[in-house]
Structure formats: C-alpha cells, structure tokens
Subunit: 251 residues, 2 copies
Amino acid sequence: MSSYPHSIKNNKPQRKIEVCFSPALFREFKNPEAIAVVVDILRATSAIVTAFMNGVSRLIPVETLKEAEDFKKRGYLVAAERDGLVQPFADFGNSPFNFTKERVSGRQIVYSTTNGTQAIHEAADCHRIIIGAYLNLTALANWLISQKRDIIILCSGWKNKFNLEDTLFAGALAERVLQNPDYYTICDSALASIDLYRIAKEDLLGYIEKAAQRYRLRKNNLDDVIEYCHTYDQTSLIPVFENDSLIPLKD
Amino acid sequence: MSSYPHSIKNNKPQRKIEVCFSPALFREFKNPEAIAVVVDILRATSAIVTAFMNGVSRLIPVETLKEAEDFKKRGYLVAAERDGLVQPFADFGNSPFNFTKERVSGRQIVYSTTNGTQAIHEAADCHRIIIGAYLNLTALANWLISQKRDIIILCSGWKNKFNLEDTLFAGALAERVLQNPDYYTICDSALASIDLYRIAKEDLLGYIEKAAQRYRLRKNNLDDVIEYCHTYDQTSLIPVFENDSLIPLKD
C-alpha cells in the first residue's frame, strides 16, 4: 500500500491541495485564497497550452456558441466545437494540432469548448486561475509550490461526469506538489487521483485506452491527439486567466 | 495493468453498470430503467442493513431534522444525526451498533443522516432503489445480476464530495457484477472504482486510514464502527425503498 508522508502533519502551518472531479462539484470547494488549476487533458487545456507555445498573444474563453459566433462576426479568429465537432461558423475546433505557429502566432483567439471553458468560469472566485496539461506539468508544479498557497485542481470532466484522463493528470500534479513539505492533503479525491496515476503512469496511453473519452474521440476519428496530449514537459509556459482572457503568466 | 474483458463487447444486448460519485452528480445519470444502489459505508447504509438484520420492520428515511423531530413527537423511534453527532430529540444516531435486536426488532424507525437519506431521495426516479454495504455485498451482486437491468451505484460521498470508502465499495460491487457477461461498463467512475478497490482490497482498513471520513469519525470518537462496516457478507437481506420506506426485499 502507498504511503502519504504529507497526509497528516504536525502543527506547522501548511498549504493544502485538493482535487475536484467535476465543475458541478466545485461549489463545495470554494476557497478564494486558493489557486485553481483547470484541467481538460482531452483536449481543451492541452490545446490552450499549445496555443501559447505557438505564440498566441491572448485567448478569450467563452461559454456559449452564440458568444463565439458574435466574436467571429467582429473579425476574431474563433475556435469552437461541441462534442468534438467543429462548429460551422468557426475557423477551427479544439485540437491542439489546429493551433499552429503559422495560424496563431501573435493573434488573439476566441475559444469555446464543451467542458474546458465552462470550468474556467466556474473557478472565477479563486485567487488565480491557471491552465494545466502534461505539456507544462513540471513548470506548473514548481510555480505552484513557489506560490505557497492552497491549490484546487479542477477537472473539467465530461459533461459534468468524472473522467479518467483529467483525474490521472490531477494525480500526477498532486504527487509532485506533495513532494514539497509545505503541502498536505486529506482530500479523498486527491488521494484517489494519486493512486490511479501510480497505477497508470508506466503506460499512460494504455491506461487511457479504457477511458470513455477515448471511445468518444475514436467515434469522431479524432484520437490522433491522445498521444500528444499525454506528452510531458514541452514548455514552461503557464496560461493564466486575467480580465476575462488567458495570457501567458509573467511572474 | 488491469484488463476489463467486459468493457467493450460485440453487439449482444447487454446491461451497463455505472458509478456516480456524488448525489450532486446524479442528475447526469438519470435512467428510469436502472436499479440504483445507494451506498454510504460510513455509516448510513451499513446501519440500515444492520437494522434489518436485527429485525426492523420498516425504516422511514427523512431528509430534514424537522421531519425527524415531527415523527418523534408522533411516537416513532427516531435515529437522527448531523456530522456524526446524535440530535438531542433523537433516540439514537446512525451507528450500526445502535440498532440492536433488543431495541429495534419488530419496530418501525425514522432515520435521518447527513448524506445517506438525501442520496436515497435523489435516486427517486429510478426503477428501484436498494441499499448496499459490505454486510450484504455478495447477496446484492447476485440479486442485481438476476434482474438483468442497468445498474447505477450512487455513492453518498461526504457533503456532496467524493469519498474513498463509498468508492471502494462501488468498485467491489462493480467488479463482482462485471464477472457476469451480461454486464459491461464504459463508465470512467466505475473503472476508477474497480482499480482503487483492487489496490485496497488486501488491506481495506489500512487503506481507509487515508480517508478523510476516518479523521472526521476519529474526531468524534466514533471510529469503532469502521472495522464492522468493512465486514463482508453478514446477511443476504437487501433493503429496498418502496412507498417512501425501506423494507426487506421479498423477491
């Protein structure tokens, strides 16, 4: 059985890390002092990190397709999809492969997806909202530890249901943060995420084969992104949500 | 890595099993054809099963303390607590150890708890609602398989949050049901539950040490029930919710 040296500590002041498995549960975690890490591995937050890797200057997440379409009429580049399908009015969908340097470098993009952007808005009351993916995992863990604040990892899930791919990432991030003695957890979701990640990490893609999201992506022939979205540490960029937009973190 | 022979099947008609980690997520699972199995291992559903083992004739779950108190005034035996503490007007709380033969045999009892009774009411639209615990696990699995219906295991959680103890039980039950080739799952919560149960099952109590609920129970000196609530197969009784009451299943 696994041991969790940082689960219970002495009275030394510490910061806690928690995992929320669905935007529909986030109200139970409200903590205005915490940093929220929004996660939608397949594919919104992997795509957002990729967009900044390729030079996007600003990304405007919107919840509804109507908002996205309004921005399109005003001349913005728009990424919008529902259930994995690109919307007719949009320039492209939320595959990370769409956000190429040629297309997006130096541009502002409006972005609406099934789960990811809604999770960002759900976390609006937190001290800060940042975007997590395997692509920036180590940079993210190190930056979070440097902030010495409570952390809530908000999994976008699938239509408010728990999903495995976001949970495994939450486990990977929580495990790294808990290496630091300033952090502890007694959050059952965090403990479960870490144990699931420990089962899966030797063969992440094999494990993800099980996940329902994979069947959904396959159905739409979109599963070429799964391997990419499970690639560690391609960048040290951390997107942060400020003034209704995502921009690269400066500090 | 674990294999799930029944995760994907050919076109043979089959029944699915799903796991819902919180009453707050149950609306995403609505399926009026399904049997809902309500689970609150520490301690409501373990206590309910125990009550019927000791001869309770009928158990009336109520959501609010006011309802419970009204029943008390009308002469009913009342079990009621919040956050693990017995309410002043009640005869006793929801420890399984309270439901002794001497106290409860042949009687009707009104029952209100923090999480468990609310989960029962949440599942009201399902074909049938039954009560699960380790105490009746094998009987429950066998009966469910005999019904050839979809199954949703509804974990009561802790104040709408995910908890480990209900999840492990969901994994134990789902694993048993999926041994039968009539059942499949592509539900990520079910797959995660099974994997967590497989990690935990050799030392369930050791694993539960991690769970936040354990700290909550310890705080109130109530943790003597944890071992009992993780005891397998003490009865073949299955409580079922009918006409606003729980009674022992007859068929």
